[in-house]
């Protein structure tokens, strides 16, 4: 008995100092295959043919008429909120407020779209983007400043500000005669709704045959590339990574961590706010508080960012993955395929793919019994990178 316990104790999970390139490919692929197998068992157990279900999902997400367009449409808001999460989380600044920052971006962008309707279209679209950026960034700076200078918990503050932003948006349309609210008809006075933006404020689309790409997705992709470059190749990004991996080391090295927290929160909020602007410009063309709150894009963005391992460039792919999953899920469900089963499948897939990430970052090792005493004196290997910054960690 005691020998078994010590055998278990000798199993360690430790952080990898170096991630082999093949592993970063094999693990997610294997995770996905595993997910499809587990979900296949669930499908078979509930009397559905897994192969035809997967084929149907794939067709709906990619090959069906309008399928790929729908995937990109689903992905667009999550690309922005995914970037918002990725950039903040990379520095271990836990901005959970992407949701509220998206709302504030939507409020600002729709306000700009309404107020500047007479502007030429390119300028108007640009103005909406700028407004969205400002709305999201300013909203994110609040928890940023509180975190940096007053040491509040940014998770709680940014989360709570989501509700404040939600109620604010709700107030503008449902509980006031604000600039955003449509009061032009008797019907609109009773059934509260936002003012519709002029056609000039509709963001352009790119069409290739039957495929329609929203302008917002292109903006998001450009932003992703920009943020990737920022994190990877600039002093700003280097400092971010150092703060994220070893806060104390960053302070000793003279990095101004407080300023950095505020500015990274602003960058994170900017991404989410631009997502809000895209919701108005690309899709809604009206401020719809209830719809935006039901959509919950900000919270989904956290999953998108985590799937991408907080790499902005990979967020493009992970947002498309989640977009395809949502799109195909809606296509799959129906009288013979309950939505709950779709949710179960999506959950299994996300769980496996996110869980697989642990195998990329950590490894399981077993110590020989003879070596235990020697090793016990050392701190657990997983804590090492926090104290002394390893080159690999910084590079990530």
């Amino acid at each position: 008995m005691s020998s078994r316990v010590s055998a278990l104790r000798s199993v360690r999970i430790e952080r990898r100092l170096d991630i082999p390139r093949w592993l970063a490919w094999v693990v997610p692929v294997a995770s996905l295959v595993l997910a499809l197998i587990i979900a296949g068992v669930v499908l078979a157990a509930t009397g559905h043919n897994p192969v035809s279900a997967y084929r149907q999902m794939f067709q709906a997400a990619v090959t069906a008429k309008g399928g790929l367009t729908a995937t990109f449409v689903y992905s667009t808001p999550m690309l922005f909120t995914g970037l918002a999460a990725a950039i903040a989380f990379r520095m271990r600044t836990w901005n959970i407020g992407g949701e509220g920052q998206l709302y504030m971006g939507a409020v600002a962008a729709s306000g700009a779209g309404l107020a500047l309707a007479s502007w030429p279209r390119p300028l108007l679209v640009l103005a909406m983007m700028v407004a969205g950026v400002a709305g999201g960034a300013l909203w994110a700076v609040i928890p940023g400043i509180l975190r940096a200078y007053f040491r509040t918990n940014e998770i709680l503050v940014s989360l709570m500000l989501n509700y404040v932003a939600g109620y604010f948006m709700y107030y503008l349309i449902y509980d006031s005669t604000s600039y955003w609210r449509d009061l032009s008809t008797p019907s609109a006075r009773v059934f509260p709704t936002g003012k519709n933006l002029a056609a000039a404020a509709n963001w352009p689309v790119f069409t290739a045959g039957s495929f329609v790409l929203p302008f917002g997705f292109v903006v998001g992709a450009v932003l992703a590339i920009g943020l990737w470059f920022l994190v990877r190749s600039t002093r700003y990004g280097f400092e971010m990574r150092v703060i994220g991996d070893a806060r104390a080391a960053a302070e000793y090295a003279g990095i101004r961590t407080k300023r950095k927290i505020v500015s990274v929160m602003a960058v994170s909020g900017l991404a989410a706010g631009l997502g809000g602007a895209s919701q108005i410009g690309d899709f809604g063309h009206v401020l719809d508080p209830r719809g935006l709150q039901q959509a919950g894009y900000g919270y989904t963005g956290i999953v998108v960012g985590a799937l991408a391992l907080y790499n902005p460039l990979a967020v493009i792919i992970s947002s498309l993955f989640i977009g395809a999953l949502s799109n195909s899920g809606n296509a799959l469900q129906g009288p013979s395929f309950p939505a709950g089963l779709v949710g179960t499948m999506q959950g299994i897939i996300l769980f496996c793919v996110l869980g697989g990430e642990i195998l990329t970052r950590y490894r399981v090792t077993r110590r020989l019994p003879g070596a235990t005493t020697h090793l016990a004196a050392r701190p657990p290997a997983s804590e090492v990178p926090r104290d002394g910054v390893s080159a690999t960690e910084v590079a990530r």
Binding site: G67, A70, Y74, L309, L320, A395
Partner: protein
């Protein structure tokens, strides 16, 4: 070490591409017969209500069925609103047999996603789309403009186009009768109401319920708690518990699930339900409730679509035609109480009584509807049942949520 992250994502993408190769080779075998009606949709056409309705006459067979699709806000298993719609969908299916194929999408949020769900249903060959919750209206209207050859129908909404119709029924008449039952059952005169969203449809329901309660229990009050959801048993339970804690002695709700009734049963309080007959969820507490028989509408409506005789409309079902029904009474009402409620039901059916006949006093004491005036169902301008945005006297709570 940045590349591995890109690699992870690229790996996922690669799997997708492989699956693409596998999937597309077989996709050509899947039947796409019913899609023809959906394809010829010129984009951007704005159709006035005076335009032409989609023409569909005489081409529906079992091998080429008429596809009627439904968008549900909750699950068919909610035992309430969506359940009632799904019962009707199945009635449609069995009435028409193989000539009509029915589809649905459940748990669709009233948000940006609904536009995608509408597109998905069109891709699946839908000839008619029934959106069964108010929050879908804007997306439905936008889609109706783009697809003039598809029938769009919106429950509980207000707008119309040549291919976009409205349907609902006088739930408020049933709610008035349910309010009477609550008024009879209450000893203290304090009634609690678990309400979904502060929109006219729900405000009208609470007003009618309150007037019914006060008609048999003068001075009774109805305390409203908003959940801001149609279907969320957790929030519904919290709201019902808070009302029970506040000391009401009868509960009622306008939610999609019977959760309020389960709370009522646990606290031994009488309960007025909604949407479907929910007696089995709280057999002791059950008083009655407004129920909807949507098949009364769906079957002739779909028949008209298939015959080519469909015209846009604003349908409003009633107690009289069976679209709205009062659910069977529970055990606690006395026979004289039941008789009083049924007498009022007959008066409503006969047209001699309408709950929204003045004088009606608003919550703040002003006269909302003058004596002798009966509100119309819906008018573009002026006050109508559809546009009441205030609570009547006796309601405790804000109609703004």
């Amino acid at each position: 070490m940045k590349r591995p992250m890109v690699g992870v994502a690229a790996g996922l993408f690669a799997v997708g591409l492989v699956a693409a190769a596998c999937g597309s080779s077989k996709s050509s075998t899947s039947p796409t017969t019913a899609q023809s009606a959906a394809t010829a949709a010129p984009s951007g056409a704005t159709t006035a209500p005076s335009g032409t309705a989609p023409s569909t006459t005489g081409k529906w067979t079992t091998s080429h069925p008429f596809v009627a699709a439904f968008i549900y806000v909750g699950a068919p298993s909610d035992a309430g609103w969506t359940h009632a719609h799904d019962v009707a969908r199945l009635a449609v299916q069995s009435h028409f047999g193989g000539v009509v194929k029915t589809l649905y999408k459940e748990d669709v949020p009233e948000g940006p996603q609904v536009s995608q769900v509408i597109n998905e249903l069109i891709n699946e060959g839908a000839n008619a789309i029934f959106a069964t919750s108010y929050g879908y209206q804007d997306a439905m209207e936008a889609a109706a403009k783009v697809h003039p050859n598809i029938f769009f129908e919106q429950a509980t909404g207000t707008d119309q186009l040549a291919n976009f119709a409205e349907y609902y029924g006088a739930g408020e008449d049933g709610d008035y009768l349910g309010g009477m039952a609550a008024g009879f059952a209450s000893k203290s005169g304090q009634i609690g109401f678990v309400a979904p969203y502060p929109i006219p449809e729900v405000i009208r329901e609470i007003d009618a319920f309150t007037m019914g309660a006060r008609s048999v229990h003068p001075g009774a009050t109805v305390r409203v708690v908003w959940t801001n959801t149609w279907f969320d048993p957790t929030k519904e339970r919290a709201a019902a518990e808070s009302l029970a804690g506040a000391g009401v002695d009868v509960l009622a709700d306008g939610q999609d699930s019977p959760t309020t009734g389960q709370v009522a049963e646990a606290h031994n309080l009488p309960w007025v339900g909604y949407d479907s007959n929910q007696e089995s969820f709280a057999p002791k507490s059950w008083l009655t409730g407004t129920t909807y028989n949507w098949a009364v509408y769906y079957i002739p409506d779909i028949q008209a679509m298939m015959n080519g005789t469909w015209k846009t409309h604003f349908y409003y079902g009633s107690l009289k035609n069976g679209f709205v029904q009062l659910a069977p009474f529970g055990p606690s009402l006395t026979s004289s109480q039941k008789a009083a409620i049924l007498a009022k039901e007959q008066a409503i059916e006969a047209g001699t009584f309408d709950p929204f006949t003045g004088p009606i006093t608003e919550q703040n004491g002003t006269i909302g509807v003058p004596a002798g005036k009966t509100l119309p169902v819906y008018t573009q301008t002026g006050l109508s049942k559809y546009s009441i945005s205030w609570f009547v006297q006796g309601v405790i709570g804000s109609p703004k949520g």
